[in-house]
Symmetry: C2
C-alpha cells in the first residue's frame, strides 16, 4: 500500500549555491504533512557533475522503490538536459516561469547562474556587510556612538531575541539595527536609558512570554535569580510598562521566528525597505 | 516602442513573510538584464488586505501603462482568488507545483501559511539560535573556550570575511562557526595560534586579494600601515604560506558572496549538513 511506503527523498539541484532551489522546494513541501530526507546538491555546473547527481538520485529511486522529488534551478542548458533524464519527479522553477517573463519583458533571458555571482560588487551587498559590522558594534548596548546612524534600535529585556533579529535585519536587508537591553535599573527609574532618549522614534521593542524567557535564561544560568520565573515575570511586566509609557511599539517574539519578527519590523519602521 | 518603455514594476505577494516569494522571484529576474522597481507585500492574509494589494498593483499598471509582474506564494484560497484578479502578470509558484506533488505523495496539501510559523519550536530553529550565540562568543578569537564544540573554525587575516561568513553559517545552517584571526605574530613564528593546534581538522581558511583587502581596511582605518597595500600584500602572502604549510584548506573570498563561501565550506567540511 502506498501509505505504508516511506516518503520519497527530496533533492535540491542547482548550478549555484542551491539556496533558491532549497527555499523554493521547502516552501512547497511545507504544504504537505511530510518529513522527507532532503539533500542539497549545489554547484552542479558541469555535465560530469550532472551525471554524478543523476546517479545519486537514481540510487535513491532504486532504494526507495519510487521516484525522488527533484527541485531544480539550473541555467546551464547542458546540465539541465542531463538532470532531466534522472528517474525522479523533476520540478523546474526556471523553465516554468522564464518563458512568460520573456514575453512580458520583450527580451530573452540570459542564462546566468545564480543571483549571487555579481552581488559582491553591488552596493546592496556592501550595505549588508556594513550593516553586519554595525549590528555587532551596537550589540547589547555595547556602544552608544553612532546610534544616530541606526535604522532601528531594538530594545527589550535580556534574551528577548534582540541580537539574532538585529543580525538578521543586517544580513538579509542591509538594515542598520542596534540593540539595547532594558535592565532592572531602567525599571526602577521607570525611564529609558539616557543614550536612547534622542533616538526615541527609532526604538522598537521585543517582548516575550515570561515562561519562555525563563527557559531560555535557564539554559545559560541554571538556578539563578536571573532565570527564575518570578524574576522573568517581573522584568517582562516592567519592560512592557516602560514601553507603553514611552509610546514604543513592540511585538512578542515568543511564537515568531526571526524572519517574521524582522519582516514585521520592516513593515512598521522602514516600509521603504520593502521596496528597492 | 516597447524598448523605450521602462521595465514593469515587480511585486512579491505573500500571506507570510514574503521571503520565499522574493527569493523565487529574484532568482528568476536574475535571468534577465533588467532592474525593475521591486515591492514586497508581506502578510497579505485577509481578503481586505488582498484588495489593497490589488489596488497597489493596478495603480502601478495604470502609471506604467503595462502589467506589473506579480510573484505570489499564497496558500489562503480566498486571498489567492482576489490577487489573481489584478491586472498584473501573476506567476504562482504554489499552484503550479503543488498538484504534481499531491500525486507523488498520494496526499492533499494542507494550505499552511509559510514555512516559519512552526519553526520556532523546532530543534532546527533552536540549533540556529544556539549557533548564533556560539558565533558571537567565538568571533575574532575572543574566546578559545569550547572551540572543541565548533563545527568549523574560520581563519584568515583581519577583514578577510570571517565574521559575516560565521554568522551566515550559524543563522542559515545552524553550524557552530568560530573564527580566529591570523596576525603578524603568527607569521613571524610561522605557526598556528596555539589555541588552534588541537582543532586543526576543523580549520578552514579565507584569503582575499590584497587590493580588495586594502580597500576594505582603508574604510576602517584610512592612511594606516594596517590598510596600506604593501602591508596587505605581505599579510596575505604570509597567511597563505602558513595555511599551505599547515595543510589548511582555504578559498578566496574576493569574488564570492557569503552565501557562496558558506555553501562551499559546508560542502568541504560538513557535507552532512547539506542533508537533513
Amino acid at each position: 500500500m502506498q501509505r505504508d511506503m516511506p516518503n520519497p527523498s527530496v533533492f535540491f539541484v542547482s548550478d549555484g549555491t542551491g539556496i533558491t532551489a532549497e527555499t523554493f522546494g521547502n516552501a512547497i513541501l511545507a504544504q504537505f504533512d511530510v518529513h522527507p530526507h532532503r539533500v542539497r546538491l549545489p554547484f552542479v555546473d558541469t555535465v560530469d557533475k550532472a551525471h554524478r547527481a543523476v546517479e545519486r538520485i537514481n540510487h535513491a529511486a532504486r532504494n526507495e522503490g519510487r521516484p525522488p522529488i527533484v527541485f531544480i534551478t539550473l541555467v546551464n542548458a547542458d546540465v539541465l538536459h542531463v538532470i532531466r533524464e534522472c528517474s525522479g519527479l523533476v520540478l523546474d522553477m526556471f523553465t516554468t516561469f522564464i518563458e512568460p517573463l520573456e514575453t512580458a519583458f520583450g527580451i530573452k533571458s540570459n542564462h546566468r547562474i545564480g543571483q549571487f555571482s555579481e552581488v559582491t560588487s553591488s552596493s546592496r551587498y556592501a550595505d549588508r556587510m556594513d550593516a553586519i559590522n554595525f549590528a555587532l558594534m551596537h550589540d547589547d548596548g555595547q556602544s552608544s556612538r553612532n546610534l544616530a546612524l541606526a535604522d532601528v534600535i531594538l530594545v527589550g529585556v535580556s534574551r528577548s531575541g534582540k541580537t539574532p533579529t538585529s543580525l538578521y535585519l543586517a544580513m538579509q536587508h542591509g538594515v542598520r539595527a542596534a540593540n539595547y537591553p532594558l535592565i532592572p535599573e531602567d525599571f526602577s527609574r521607570m525611564s529609558l536609558p539616557s543614550a536612547l532618549v534622542p533616538h526615541r522614534t527609532k526604538l522598537f521593542g521585543l517582548s516575550i512570554a515570561p515562561e519562555r524567557l525563563s527557559a531560555i535564561r535557564t539554559e545559560r544560568k541554571p538556578g539563578s535569580n536571573y532565570a527564575s520565573l518570578p524574576n522573568c515575570v517581573e522584568e517582562v511586566a516592567e519592560a512592557e510598562r516602560l514601553m507603553r509609557r514611552e509610546g514604543i511599539r513592540w511585538l512578542s517574539s515568543t511564537h515568531k521566528s526571526i524572519e517574521e519578527i524582522a519582516t514585521t519590523i520592516l513593515q512598521l519602521i522602514r516600509p521603504d525597505r520593502l521596496e528597492y
